[in-house]
C-alpha cells in the first residue's frame, strides 16, 4: 500500500513542478522616474492598451521604460490635452462611446481623478475653464455635430448642444472641423468641406479655399465664416492648424491636402501660412508665407508654437505629400521673419518611423520636446532649439513608441 501512495505522490509532484516555474526576466529593469513630464507610449504588440503613461523628471537625459512602469490607458487610440494643471486622456472609440480620464500629478505621480464615458470626439481644446469637445459627422445624412463642454474644475459636463455643419457653407457638402481654438473670447473652428458620401467621404469639389467658422462661447452660436481663396483648407484631420502668438495675431497653416475622393490630391494652392490680425475676423490679405517656395520644396504637415513667433514644424518633401502623410523632418519657422531653417541633429528621415504630433513646449521662444520613433525600434525625446535649429537627443524610451509629451504642474 505504501508504494501505491508513493506512486500517487510522484504523480502529484510531477504536476506540481509545472506550477512552480515562471519567466526569468533577463533584461534589467528601468526604475520609475517620478516627475512632472508625462510621456504617452504605445506599447509594441498592443493587446488593447492605447498607451502607458510614464512620468519623467527630466526629458534631456536618462531612460524611461514601460516594462514594469506606467499606467495603462484603455483603448487603441488615446489623445491627450492638458488644461488647468490636469491631464486629460481622451479615448477615441470611432463610432463607439469614448471616454475622458482625468489625472493630476502629486509628488511626481499621476493620480486618477475621474473617468467617464463620453462620445468619441474628433476635436477638443481648452476654452476658458472648459475642455470643448466636438463630435463631427462624416455622413451627408447627418448634418449635426455635437459639442460638449467639460468643466476642468468639477470634471462634469457643463453643457452641450449641436452645430449644423451643412449650413455653414451651404455648398452641398458638409464642413468637417480640423480642430478648434480659443481666439479672444471666441471659438475658431477651421474646417474642410467634404462630400461625406458615396465612396468619397473625405473628398471635396472645393479644394481651393480656407475657411474658419467663428462661434461665440459658451453658447456656441454660429457667428460667421472667415474665408480665404489663397490657400486650401487650414489644418488637417485631427490637426491644429491655428496658433495665437503673443501680440494676439493668429497664424494658420495649410498643407494643401484636399482630395477629390479621399486619396487623389486636387488643390492647386501651395502649402502656406496665413494670418488674422488681432481683433480682426478676416484673413490679412497682406500676409502670405508660401512654405513651398520659402523652403525650396517642402510642405508643412503640423506645428508646435514655442513662443517668440517661432514654430517647430513637421515638414515633408512636396513629392511625398498626402492627406495623412506627416513629415519626418523638422524645420524652424519664424512667421514674422518668414524664415525657414531645417533642424539639424536629427536622424535621417529614412531611419524615422514617425515623429510625435503632441509635443511640449515651455513657450520660452525656443524650446520644444519632440518624440522620435526610429525604425530600429528605439524611441527618444529630442530637445529642439529653435534659436539655432538644432536637435539634441534626450531621454530614451523603452517598450514602445512615443505618442505624446506633456507637462503639468
Amino acid at each position: 500500500m505504501k508504494t501505491k501512495f508513493t506512486k500517487a505522490f510522484v504523480a502529484l509532484a510531477f504536476a506540481a513542478v509545472f506550477a512552480s516555474c515562471s519567466k526569468s526576466n533577463d533584461s534589467e529593469a528601468v526604475a520609475n522616474d517620478p516627475g512632472n513630464y508625462i510621456l504617452a507610449v504605445t506599447p509594441v504588440a498592443s493587446t488593447g492598451v492605447a498607451d502607458y503613461l510614464l512620468t519623467a523628471s527630466d526629458l534631456e537625459k536618462g531612460t524611461v521604460s514601460i516594462l514594469g512602469n506606467g499606467i495603462e490607458q484603455d483603448g487603441t487610440y488615446r489623445y491627450y490635452v492638458t488644461a488647468n494643471n490636469k491631464f486629460f486622456s481622451m479615448l477615441y472609440g470611432q463610432g463607439n462611446p469614448g471616454a475622458v480620464t482625468t489625472y493630476n500629478i502629486t509628488n511626481g505621480k499621476l493620480t486618477k481623478l475621474s473617468n467617464f464615458a463620453s462620445e468619441t470626439v474628433q476635436a477638443f481644446a481648452p476654452v476658458n475653464d472648459d475642455i470643448l469637445m466636438l463630435k463631427i459627422p462624416r455622413a451627408i445624412t447627418n448634418p449635426l455635430a455635437n459639442y460638449y463642454r467639460v468643466n476642468t474644475n468639477s470634471m462634469l459636463i457643463a453643457g452641450e448642444g449641436t452645430i449644423n455643419t451643412q449650413t455653414i457653407l451651404n455648398n452641398g457638402e458638409t464642413a468637417f472641423f480640423s480642430w478648434i481654438k480659443q481666439v479672444g473670447t471666441k471659438v475658431y473652428a477651421p474646417f474642410f468641406s467634404i462630400k461625406a458620401c458615396c465612396g468619397a467621404a473625405f473628398g471635396t469639389a472645393n479644394p481651393d479655399n480656407a475657411w474658419i467658422a467663428v462661434y461665440s462661447y459658451p453658447d456656441m452660436k454660429f457667428e460667421k465664416v472667415i474665408t480665404d481663396n489663397r490657400t486650401s483648407f487650414i489644418g488637417r484631420y485631427f490637426t491644429d492648424g491655428l496658433a495665437v502668438v503673443e501680440n494676439g495675431d493668429t497664424y494658420a497653416f495649410s498643407s494643401s491636402v484636399a482630395t477629390s475622393n479621399g486619396t487623389i490630391l486636387n488643390s492647386t494652392k501651395p502649402s502656406s501660412i496665413t494670418r488674422l490680425k488681432a481683433g480682426v475676423t478676416e484673413f490679412d490679405q497682406t500676409y502670405l508665407y508660401n512654405v513651398e517656395t520659402k523652403s525650396n520644396g517642402y510642405v508643412i504637415t503640423n506645428w508646435t508654437y514655442v513662443g517668440g513667433n517661432n514654430f517647430v514644424a513637421n515638414v515633408s518633401k512636396k513629392a511625398d505629400k498626402g492627406a495623412y502623410v506627416v513629415g519626418n523632418e523638422l524645420a524652424i519657422i519664424n512667421v514674422v521673419d518668414q524664415s525657414f531653417k531645417l533642424v539639424t541633429g536629427l536622424p535621417i528621415p529614412a531611419e524615422i518611423t514617425n515623429i510625435t504630433s503632441n509635443n511640449y513646449s515651455p513657450k520660452d521662444g525656443k524650446t520644444a520636446y519632440y518624440g522620435l520613433n526610429l525604425k530600429n525600434g528605439t524611441s527618444y525625446v529630442y530637445k529642439i532649439d529653435a534659436s539655432n535649429a538644432t536637435a539634441t537627443q534626450g531621454v530614451k524610451v523603452e517598450g514602445g513608441a512615443l505618442t505624446a509629451i506633456q507637462n503639468i504642474k
Partner: protein
C-alpha cells in the same frame, strides 16, 4: 510464430471478405444480467475466433447482425464479472435470442474503482488524452454543457455574464476556435447561436468526451488544440425525462427528452429545451451620469438590458436495429434565441436596447450501420442550417449604468444602427468508415465537408456595399487512420489528415483561393497493470481560419480576411492510476503533461476601437503545462475529487510589426489567459432517507481561478494605484441538494450558486452573477424491456 500470426491474419481476412458474399445472414441478440438480476452494461460480447462482436448497452441489451450461420462460442467479458462462455448453433436466417446471466467477480471488484467503470470511464482508457464526463450524474442540476465542462482538469470556461452570455472555452492553453465541438461526432460549427454549449442543458448528453490536444481521426475536423464531443447516446428505447427549474434573476429552464420505439424498430426521439433569464443581477461598476459625467467609481447597480431566452426542439424519426441500418434517422432541429446586449467588450460601454436574434432550422440525416459487411462500420451524417441571425440596434441613444438614456440626435443607433439579417447557409456532410481487419487491427477513413455562404441585407442600410460582396468558404477534411489494439494491454493509432479550404472573399476575379495542409499524428497507451495506464500522443495539426474569423459574426467578432492557417506540434503524456485501500477507500489519479508549439497561432485581440474582437496571427506561441485529477470514494456514499491545471503560454514572436529589434515581449507570458485554476467537489449520498428507496444527495463544488493580467504582464506598473488591468482571483462556492424518490423517478433539487456572493469575473470588468438559488424538479421514467 510470426508465420502463424500472418497465417491467422490471412485466415481472418479471408473470413471477413468471404463473409461479405454470404446471401442469407443471421443475427444474435440478447440481454445480459448479473446474478442479482441487474442489467450488465459495457460488456463485450464476442463470437470466439471471429470478428463478430458487440457491446451491451445500459440495459444490458446487445445485437450482433449479419452473422454467417454456423457453430460458435459466445464469449462475454465484463469488468467486475467472471468471463462467460456459451456454445450456440446459428441457422441460416435465424435471429437467435439469448438471455445470459453473468456472475460478479468479487476479487476483480476490489481492484477496480468501486463505482464501476461506466462508458465514461471506458472512454478515459483510450490512447488519446481524453476525459469523459458522465453527464447522467449531473441530470438533477441546472448545469448546461459548458458548466459541466468547467469542472474538468485542463478546461476553463470563461463567461461574460449570466445565462446565455458569450463564452470562451480554454483547453490546455488553446481556446476559442482552436477547440472544436461535436455532437455525436458531428461538427457543431454551423449550428448558429441557438444551439451552443452554453445553452444546451446537460440532460441532452449521455456523456461528454474532452480530447485534449490530439484529436482522434474519426472526429474528422481541423481542431488545433482539442475537441469536445457531446454524446447523446441512445440510452433508452422508451423513456421520458422532463425537468423544470426556477431560480434567481427570474431564470427558468425546462428540458424534455423522450423516445418511443416500436417492436419493429420504428423510433421517434424528441429533445426539447428552453432557457429564460432576465440576468438582472447587481454589478459593481465604474458608473458615470450620461448627462453630467458625474463619476461614481464603485456603484452597485442592476443590469437592465440582459434578458436572454432560447427555445429549441430536436426531433428525429426513423428506424433502429434493421438489417440495413442500426440507426437511420431523419431529423429536424428548430430553435430560436433572443439576447439583449448589456455591454461592449468593457462594462464602461453600456447599452440599453441593442439586442440580437437567431434561429436554427436544420434538417439532419443520421445513418449508422455496424458490420455492413462483417467488420465494416459505416456512419453517414448530413445537415444544412437554414437559420438566420439578426443584429438589431435601432435606438439612437446613449445609456448609462443608471438606466438613463440621452438621444444622440442622429441616426447613430447605440453602436451602429443596424437591422442586418443574414443566413450563413452552411451545410455539412460527414462519412466515416471503420474496418476491423481482425481482433487487433482496424483502419478508419473519414471525410468531413463543410460549406459556408453568407448572404444578408439590412433594411436600414440597403446600399451598404459590404453586404453585396461574396463571403464563401468550403472546407474538406479527409482522414485515414490505423489502429492496433491489444485489449487491456496496449493500444496504438496512427493517422493522417488532409485539409483543403477554398475561400472566396469579395467579388474580384481572383477572390478565390485554395489552401491545403497535411497533418499527422500518433497516440499510444499501455497498461502497466490493470490499474496503471500510461498514455502518449503526438500530432502535427493544422487549422484553417474558419468562416466566422474570416468574415466576422456581425456582432462582436470583426472579420480578418488575411488570416493565415495555424499549425501546432502537440505532445501529451499522461498516466492514470487507481487503487484502493482497506477495500472501502478508493482512489484514482490522472495526470497529464502537455507541450504545444503553435506557428501562426490565431488568437483574438480587441480591434482598433476595442468594440469587437478580431482574430489575428501571432508568429509563435509555446505552451507547456500539466493537469492532474484525483478522485476518492468511500464505500458507496462519499465521493470527493480535485482537479488542478497549470499552463504557461509564452509569446515566441521575436519581431513586432514596425520594429526591427527583438521585441521586449519576446518570451513574455501571453496575456488574458487563465493559467492556474482548479476545482474541488465533495458529494454525499444518503440512502433510504425518510422512506426506503429514496436518496438524498448533497454536493459541494469549489472553483478557483488564479488572477491573471489582461494585457502583457511585463508592461506597465503593477503598483496598487496604477490600475494595471487584472482579472482578479476567483473563488466560487456552489452547493446542491437532490432528493430522489421512487428509485429516481421523481427528483427535487435545490442549488445555491456563488454562496459567498463574491464578485466573479472571467473577463476583465465583465462581472458574472452573484449569489443565486435554483429549484429543479425532474421526472424520469424508462421502460427497459424491448
Amino acid at each position: 510464430m510470426q508465420f502463424k500470426q500472418i497465417l491467422l491474419l490471412a485466415i481472418l481476412c479471408a473470413n471477413v471478405f468471404f463473409a461479405g458474399a454470404q446471401t442469407q445472414s443471421s443475427s444474435i441478440s440478447g440481454s445480459l444480467r448479473s446474478n442479482l438480476g441487474e442489467p450488465v452494461h459495457s460488456a463485450t460480447i464476442k463470437l470466439q475466433n471471429t470478428s463478430y462482436g458487440a457491446v451491451s448497452d445500459q440495459n444490458g441489451q446487445f445485437t450482433i447482425n449479419n452473422v454467417k450461420p454456423g457453430n460458435y462460442i459466445v464469449l462475454i467479458k465484463a469488468i467486475g464479472f467472471n468471463d462467460h462462455k456459451t456454445e450456440i448453433k446459428l441457422a441460416a436466417g435465424q435471429n437467435l435470442k439469448l438471455s445470459i446471466k453473468v456472475t460478479e467477480n468479487v476479487e476483480q471488484m476490489e481492484t477496480v474503482n468501486v463505482l464501476g467503470r461506466t462508458v465514461a470511464q471506458e472512454t478515459n482508457r483510450q490512447a488519446f488524452n481524453v476525459t469523459a464526463i458522465d453527464a447522467k450524474k449531473l441530470y438533477n442540476s441546472t448545469l448546461d454543457i459548458s458548466g459541466a465542462l468547467d469542472r474538468v482538469a485542463g478546461i476553463r470556461v470563461r463567461e461574460s455574464g449570466g445565462v446565455g452570455s458569450n463564452f470562451n472555452l480554454s483547453l490546455n492553453g488553446f481556446s476559442g476556435n482552436h477547440v472544436k465541438y461535436f455532437i455525436d461526432g458531428i461538427p457543431m460549427d454551423n449550428f448558429g447561436t441557438s444551439f451552443q454549449i452554453n445553452n444546451i442543458p446537460i440532460n441532452i448528453a449521455d456523456r461528454i468526451e474532452v480530447y485534449k490536444g490530439v484529436v482522434p481521426m474519426w472526429l474528422g475536423s481541423d481542431a488545433l488544440g482539442g475537441a469536445i464531443n457531446i454524446v447523446t447516446g441512445d440510452r433508452y428505447r422508451n423513456y421520458i425525462d422532463v425537468s423544470y427549474s426556477y431560480g434567481s434573476f427570474n431564470t427558468h429552464r425546462s428540458v424534455l427528452n423522450a423516445a418511443a420505439t416500436s417492436k419493429n424498430g420504428l423510433t421517434v426521439q424528441l429533445n426539447a429545451f428552453q432557457n429564460y433569464s432576465d440576468n438582472d443581477y447587481k454589478v459593481k461598476v465604474e458608473a458615470s451620469d450620461i448627462y453630467t459625467g458625474a463619476f461614481a467609481p464603485a456603484a452597485l447597480l442592476r443590469r437592465f438590458n440582459d434578458k436572454y431566452h432560447n427555445e429549441t426542439v430536436i426531433a428525429n424519426v426513423g428506424v433502429v436495429d434493421k438489417s440495413y441500418a442500426d440507426k437511420l434517422l431523419i431529423g429536424f432541429t428548430a430553435g430560436k434565441n433572443y439576447k439583449e446586449i448589456q455591454t461592449g467588450a468593457r462594462m464602461i460601454q453600456v447599452f440599453g436596447a441593442w439586442h440580437r436574434k437567431g434561429t436554427i432550422l436544420m434538417p439532419t440525416l443520421k445513418y449508422k450501420k455496424t458490420n455492413l459487411i462483417p467488420g465494416l462500420d459505416v456512419t453517414v451524417n448530413a445537415n444544412y442550417n437554414l437559420g438566420t441571425e439578426q443584429n438589431i440596434d435601432t435606438v439612437n441613444a446613449r445609456y448609462d449604468w443608471f438606466g438613463n438614456s440621452k438621444p444622440t440626435g442622429t441616426n447613430s443607433g447605440e453602436r451602429s444602427r443596424s437591422m442586418y439579417k443574414y443566413k450563413n447557409n452552411n451545410g455539412l456532410a460527414t462519412a466515416m468508415f471503420n474496418y476491423k481487419i481482425n481482433e487487433r487491427q482496424s483502419v478508419a477513413l473519414s471525410n468531413v465537408f463543410n460549406t459556408f455562404n453568407r448572404k444578408g441585407s439590412d433594411e436600414l442600410n440597403p446600399t451598404n456595399n459590404d453586404y453585396e460582396t461574396t463571403k464563401k468558404n468550403t472546407k474538406n477534411v479527409l482522414g485515414l487512420g490505423y489502429n492496433y489494439d491489444v485489449k487491456d494491454r496496449w493500444s496504438t493509432t496512427v493517422f493522417g489528415k488532409y485539409i483543403s479550404q477554398n475561400n472566396t472573399i469579395g467579388n474580384s476575379a481572383n477572390a478565390s483561393s485554395l489552401t491545403t495542409k497535411f497533418g499527422y499524428g500518433t497516440a499510444a497507451t499501455y497498461f502497466l497493470n490493470r490499474n496503471l495506464q500510461l498514455k502518449a500522443s503526438y500530432e502535427l495539426t493544422n487549422r484553417m481560419p474558419d468562416a466566422q474569423e474570416i468574415f466576422g459574426d456581425v456582432e462582436n467578432q470583426e472579420g480578418n480576411p488575411s488570416l493565415k492557417p495555424e499549425k501546432s506540434n502537440n505532445i501529451n503524456l499522461g498516466a492514470g492510476y487507481s487503487f484502493s485501500f482497506n477495500k472501502v477507500n478508493n482512489f484514482s489519479i490522472n495526470a497529464n503533461a502537455i507541450y504545444r508549439h503553435a506557428d501562426n497561432f490565431i488568437y483574438n485581440r480587441l480591434n482598433a476601437n476595442q468594440s469587437k474582437l478580431v482574430a489575428d496571427n501571432r508568429d509563435g506561441v509555446r505552451t507547456w503545462g500539466g493537469d492532474a485529477e484525483i478522485r476518492y470514494s468511500y464505500k458507496n456514499w462519499l465521493t470527493a475529487g480535485s482537479t488542478i491545471t497549470y499552463q504557461f503560454l509564452r509569446n515566441l514572436q521575436m519581431y513586432e510589426p514596425g520594429y526591427t529589434s527583438v521585441s521586449p515581449l519576446y518570451k513574455d507570458q501571453m496575456p488574458n489567459i487563465p493559467y492556474f485554476f482548479g476545482n474541488t467537489d465533495v458529494s454525499v449520498t444518503l440512502k433510504d432517507v425518510a422512506r426506503k428507496g429514496n436518496t438524498l444527495n448533497i454536493g459541494y463544488n469549489l472553483l478557483y481561478v488564479h488572477a491573471f493580467w489582461l494585457y502583457w504582464p511585463s508592461l506597465g506598473s503593477r503598483a496598487a494605484g496604477d490600475e494595471k488591468r487584472v482579472v482578479p482571483q476567483q473563488f466560487s462556492h456552489d452547493m446542491n441538494f437532490v432528493y430522489s424518490m421512487a428509485g429516481g423517478r421523481y427528483n427535487i433539487g435545490v442549488e445555491a450558486k456563488n454562496i459567498t456572493n463574491a464578485f466573479l469575473y472571467d473577463n476583465f470588468s465583465l462581472q458574472k452573477p452573484g449569489r443565486g438559488f435554483y429549484l429543479n424538479l425532474r421526472y424520469f421514467i424508462n421502460k427497459t424491456t424491448k
